[in-house]
């Protein structure tokens, strides 16, 4: 088994095809290689992003004009007149076959017409936009795609602790996604992604139960990933790598995983109770039976607020990696940045009810408002530290760095618009308006998604061994930045002027701002398509990437691009920190000696892990 590993040729890249097409496909379907699973996650989440994006464009297009065709009664004369307004979603009448009893008491088939109004379709579209983006895209995006690929590489491990559980998590994710897509095709959901009861328990003609169960299933995928990463970080770090020698991306993923493990089960029980409520009317959340709809909101937000940090923390990690590499500076205040990730994870469990200030008791509202303020501290520490890292750096203005800069701009806006929503008196005005919509899009899209796209550019050469076209990538970045701000900055004004969210129609005074926002969304979409084109062109005929194109000091760059199947040719040893850019000379990381690499075909690789682990 101790094969010679002196020649690179013996250890093909993880992307190398097998002898036949069938074997190649099988090597992906059965793979337990974290890199392949990461790439499969990447494909899946990008598809979800595309789907959610199309739905978002539908929402924005519909909001181009304020209200729909309707008979209007002139209040002064009492006469009826028709007002014509073109809107994107139209009423749809479908004919369906139902079983019905005739006069003789027999069951016969009958045709029945059912009309979905344009409002109803709008509601279904924005609900699915939210559900797809949150559960299928943002939550798994960075941890499951980039985290899976790079976490073991960054700590010098051959794989995650439980490779099969990792593959299972991908399949569970795909299964959950198919359930969601099935719900989309089977009539959709119109409850909003938050499933508030009693609305969600009383709607008909939809697939709410199916989506609730899909969310339950997706929760398992999330838990498996988080559990895997925690154990990997604890147990599989390279020799010499202490906790404070870890890259900050690993710290961020670690903090994320803690939240995933501790919060997701509560989401599981919430959606499970919701599904049971819909099937059997058990009444726990139904006020008509003595249940408490506010209890549902507590259940839901106990997960879904920490989930916000599941979404944003990995983005923080990416930014820390990119900013140090492309400014060639050690991160400013490593320990403060590392601990702030853990602090955010811990505080995230104390603040959930700030989503419910208009519904809850006054005492609890005041307590939660005060606790919410605490989240701002670790977040502020990070932003200050990033800006301070730029000081006296050598800042390369390439695409990843442009993304870092747009992240700092957008996320700072997103973060600073948090206090008006956490302070009680101002939240009463802004809650459930477009201000909230703008705020969380600045955090999630301006934060996580921007970091995710930036991270893709940063790590693209490592993942696929190809460079991308810098000019077009920068153009895409510019379009995304401009489009994003146009789309969502206008929404701050909409919200503070009193435009409630989730509105299919609106009064005409808001039309100009809505139209600006819609134009912005199209620019944003074009920018994202430019990036897609850049990536596709890179895969087709990009320049071959060298091992370490950015001169980065983290461990994942110490192997070939793309990495070999078992990550490293020689055992990596942490001989220097991840950000020692201020050291004149850094010692090499590899340690000579035995580093057993199984040289069997990928498909049989399971033989090695046969009994011990999951």
């Amino acid at each position: 088994m101790s094969a010679a590993h002196d020649h690179h040729d013996h250890h093909p890249s993880y992307l190398a095809p097998k002898e036949t097409l069938g074997k190649t496909i099988m090597s992906w379907v059965y793979t337990i290689d974290h890199k392949k699973i990461g790439v499969m996650y990447l494909c899946a989440v990008l598809f979800a992003f595309f789907l959610g994006g199309v739905l978002a464009l539908g929402v924005r297009t519909h909001l181009w004009s304020p209200a729909e065709t309707i008979v209007q009664i002139d209040p002064s004369t009492g006469e009826e007149r028709e007002v014509q307004k073109e809107r994107f979603f139209r009423d749809v009448t479908i004919t369906r076959t139902v079983m019905r009893e005739n006069e003789a008491g027999e069951k016969v088939r009958a045709q029945e017409e059912r009309t979905f109004t344009s409002n109803n379709i709008y509601n279904r579209v924005f609900t699915l936009h939210g559900a797809v983006m949150v559960f299928l895209f943002i939550i798994p995006s960075v941890p499951a795609a980039l985290g899976n690929f790079f976490l073991p590489l960054m700590i010098g491990a051959k794989d995650v602790a439980f490779p099969r559980l990792n593959l299972l998590s991908w399949y569970v994710y795909v299964f959950g996604s198919l359930m969601t897509l099935g719900a989309l095709l089977g009539g959709g959901v119109e409850t909003g992604w938050t499933f508030y009861t009693p609305y969600s328990t009383s709607t008909e003609f939809g697939q709410t139960t199916l989506v609730a169960l899909a969310v339950f299933v997706l929760g398992f995928s999330s838990i498996f990933t988080g559990l895997n990463f925690i154990v990997t970080v604890h147990k599989m770090r390279a020799p010499g790598m202490g906790w404070f020698d870890m890259p900050l991306f690993v710290w961020a993923i670690y903090a994320t995983s803690i939240i995933q493990v501790l919060a997701t089960p509560v989401l599981g029980i919430t959606v499970l109770l919701l599904a049971i409520e819909r099937m059997f009317n058990i009444g726990i959340f139904d006020p008509a039976k003595g249940g408490d709809p506010i209890l549902f909101q507590h259940f839901f937000w106990f997960y879904s607020h920490p989930a916000v940090y599941i979404m944003i923390l990995p983005g923080f990690g990416i930014i820390s990696e990119m900013i140090t590499t492309h400014a060639r500076k050690p991160i400013f205040g490593y320990r403060f940045v590392a601990f702030s990730s853990i602090a955010i994870a811990a505080i995230s469990f104390l603040v959930w009810a700030h989503h419910m200030f208009t519904a809850m008791g006054e005492l609890a509202a005041i307590i939660f408002s005060g606790l919410t303020m605490l989240v701002a501290i670790p977040t502020a520490i990070k932003v200050f530290a990033w800006v301070a890292t730029l000081y006296k750096g050598s800042i390369a203005l390439n695409t990843p760095m442009l993304y870092v800069l747009s992240f700092l701009f957008l996320f700072t806006i997103g973060g600073l618009t948090g206090p008006p929503l956490a302070v009680l008196s101002t939240d009463l005005h802004l809650h459930d308006t477009y201000f909230v919509v703008a705020h969380f899009h600045y955090v999630m899209m301006g934060g996580t998604v921007i970091a995710f796209i930036g991270g893709l550019h940063h790590w693209w050469p490592k993942m696929f061994g190809r460079m991308y076209n810098e000019t077009f990538a920068k153009l895409g970045c510019l379009l995304v930045f401009v489009g994003f701000n146009l789309t969502f900055f206008t929404q701050f004004f909409l919200g503070s002027n009193g435009m409630p969210r989730r509105y299919a129609t609106y009064v005409e005074e808001f039309q100009t701002l809505h139209q600006l926002s819609t134009i912005g969304s199209y620019i944003l979409a074009i920018g994202l398509f430019v990036h897609l084109g850049v990536f596709v062109m890179s895969l087709l005929n990009g320049k071959k990437a060298v091992e370490n194109p950015w001169g980065s000091l983290t461990m994942e760059w110490d192997t070939e691009s793309p990495p070999i199947e078992h990550n490293f040719l020689h055992e990596p040893v942490a001989t220097h920190g991840p950000y020692d850019y201020d050291q004149p000379i850094v010692p090499p990381r590899t340690k000579p000696g035995e580093w057993p690499l199984p040289d069997m075909p990928e498909g049989d690789d399971g033989a090695n892990t046969k009994r011990g682990m999951f």
């Binding site: 491990a157 604890h234 919060a263 599981g268 029980i269 009317n281 090695n608 046969k610 011990g612 682990m613």
Partner: protein, 226 residues
Amino acid sequence: MASIPSDHNARPAAPHENPVVASHFRSKAEQEDAGKMGMWLFLTTEVLLFGGFFCAYAVFRMLYPETFEGASAKFLDWRIGAINTVVLLLSSFTVAMSIRNAQLNQQWWLRINLIITIACAIFFLVTKLWLEYWPKIVEGKLPGTFFTYSGAMTDHDQIFLSIYWTATATHGLHVLIGVFLLTWLLVRAWKLHFGPKTYLALENVGLYWHVVDLIWIFLFPLLYLV
């Protein structure tokens, strides 16, 4: 799953004498620590999953104390609950014993303890279904739509029943999964998979089983007694 490659002409080593370390771990200790930590993390998710039921119970008990005070006596028989508690405690004890047996390589005692555990688990399930669930189904002491019981006294009896049914059914499902896992352990024990060096699976399933027991320790007084 456990067949040993037998192309060597020597006696194939019993599995428990030849622990396998997966290729991505640096050592057996690292592998075992990882496995156990993974299990503990999974158990925290289990506790929080049931936390939802405990939270719902606490909130509704606070809102409708009059319902919950009388409900346990009205709907449930504490004797069945108590017997089941004892049975689960016994099974927990035997699982703990079986780990000791593996550590000391007492293969027969290991099997006997596992068999007792499985028997306890099945006894628990049978009691639950036959003495508790079935009569309640007949009398209509069911949650939501199926609630047809005629002797209801307060408005919120069915909230109690909803919590009772969802919590105990989820717990029962965990017991059922435990039965499958324990049976799998028993089969492996028969194949001599466990010994002083190789009892991680036993330990992990044992931990799972203790948590199932732990949850029942809290469900029992809350639902059946107070």
